[in-house]
């Protein structure tokens, strides 16, 4: 058994630069993947709701395949199996970014779809009766009503995206987790190294979760004239609780 008074943090200042690089990789991967996933998820959702069957079915297949297989398998597949098909090798960061953005955009597609479907049909019909063109209906009438509905689940997805980056170490993306592994092989102080890294993740995660909770409080109040489906989407904690993990 280890003596807890013997904890040694003298390695920390020496390895502050690799740790910061790892943290930077984690942060930019999460931010980039999320920024790619929001518009692509929205486009996919629009295709699923308004497209013909030849648009709907491929999107449905993509979303289900991505949601119902683990990110780790997807990342490894993209990094090792995809080059066999395409002939191009990708760097770990490229593969990681592709895997993460695909994964998150599938989840965001589901959120956006629920948001779009929650807007009453009458809104589409009224806008058409007023002579709006289809794209204008979506951009000017539907989308402004969708945003407040989807913002709380989107904020939760942002927290989830940040957490998911830790998986990408498996394909040698040198994120914070992998930086910790490598530092540990130098100093062999696992308790100290992993506790420090876990605390860094916890601090950033708490900040993001606090932001998400603020958004949720701001937008989750049911408003007059909203359909029951919309209220359900915004207010069901049981549904949300299980949906941003692993």
């Amino acid at each position: 058994m280890i003596d807890l008074t013997n904890l040694d943090f003298t390695w920390l200042p020496r390895f502050i630069i690799p740790l910061s690089w790892g943290l930077w990789t984690t942060v930019w991967l999460a931010v980039a993947a999320f920024l790619i996933a929001v518009p692509s998820g929205l486009i996919l959702a629009l295709g699923r709701v308004r497209g013909g069957w030849f648009v709907r079915w491929p999107i449905l297949a993509f979303v289900d395949v991505v949601r119902f297989t683990p990110l780790l398998v997807q990342a490894v597949w993209i990094h090792f199996a995809l080059p066999v098909l395409t002939g191009y090798s990708l760097s770990p960061n490229q593969s990681g970014l592709i895997a993460l953005s695909l994964h998150v955009s599938a989840y965001i597609c589901e959120i956006m779809r629920a948001g779009i479907v929650a807007i009453p049909k009458g809104q589409w019909e009224a806008a058409r009766a007023l002579g709006f063109r289809p794209w204008s209906i979506f951009r000017l009438v539907i989308l402004p009503q969708v945003w407040p509905l989807v913002l709380p689940p989107l904020a939760n997805t942002a927290v989830g995206t940040f957490k998911l980056t830790a998986i990408l170490g498996i394909i040698a993306v040198t994120d914070l987790t992998r930086a910790a592994n490598r530092i540990n092989t130098f100093v062999f102080r696992p308790l100290e190294v992993y506790t420090v890294v876990a605390l860094i993740y916890l601090a950033i995660g708490l900040l993001l979760a606090w932001g998400a909770a603020t958004i949720e409080r701001r937008y989750a109040t049911p408003q007059r004239g909203r359909s029951a489906a919309a209220t359900n989407l915004a207010l069901n904690p049981a549904v949300e609780a299980s949906r941003h993990g692993f």
Binding site: M1, V73, F80, L191, A241, S242, R243, G245, F246
Partner: protein
């Protein structure tokens, strides 16, 4: 390069053994996670006090720290902390169990809080004992609300077991990766396990969605 799906069948016993490890980790995580969740949920429902604060803190910490980090922490820190040689399978499953405890506690709590207040009041008006109120009135109704997210969580947990590959536990994902690197047939093996995970998770998740819709329709 010729796509050769038959190579997967030749290494089938190894993949099957990996699936066994995956299921074992899944089972351990649930068997430890559900009791933890019950305790934490009971703590959170108390409303105030040290216990409620501790439970809320537990849920926050274990839901926010990434699963992979938690698994690494357990893998490297459990042996020096406890003094026992803990295997990768056990430390990894224990990490998943602690995380499951946090998620499931929230699912249970949401289920219990979805039960109408009137049910409590009616039970009180009929002078039913607390124990009977819980077991015969609240929990059966809460279970209905909690079932879809619970099943959803099971699929998430199955996906989460792949993270044990990062600490070298020979689960399904790691087996496929290693076999792929040994035979240079990444495409075949990785596609095969992607299909396996999909075939298991897809019907379960669809089933959860269906009963969720039925429940929403019934309670509206």
């Amino acid at each position: 390069m010729v796509f050769d799906p038959w190579i997967v069948l030749r290494f089938w016993p190894q993949l099957l053994d990996g699936a066994r490890i995956t299921l074992l980790a899944f089972g351990i995580a649930l068997a430890i996670g559900i009791p933890i969740a019950t305790i934490v949920c009971a703590g959170r429902l108390r409303g105030g006090g040290v216990l409620a604060g501790l439970s809320a803190g537990y849920v926050t910490v274990f839901r926010i720290i990434p699963e992979a980090v938690m698994i690494f922490w357990m893998f490297y820190c459990l042996p020096p902390l406890t003094g026992y040689a803990v295997s990768g399978l056990w430390s990894g499953s224990l990490a998943l169990a602690l995380i499951s405890g946090a998620y499931l506690a929230e699912i249970f709590r949401a289920g219990i809080q979805s039960v109408d207040r009137g049910q409590w009041e009616a039970a009180k008006a009929m002078a039913l004992p607390r124990w009977i109120t819980w077991t015969r009135i609240i929990i059966p109704q809460a279970a209905r609300f909690a079932t879809p997210p619970f099943i959803n969580f099971l699929t998430e947990l199955l996906k989460g077991t792949t993270l044990l590959a990062t600490i070298g536990v020979a689960d399904l994902a790691l087996r496929a990766y290693v076999l792929g690197s040994q035979t240079f047939r990444y495409l075949e093996f990785l596609t095969a396990i992607a299909i396996i995970y999909f075939v298991i998770i897809f019907p379960v998740a669809r089933f959860a969605e269906r009963i969720e819709h039925r429940l929403a329709a019934a309670t509206r």
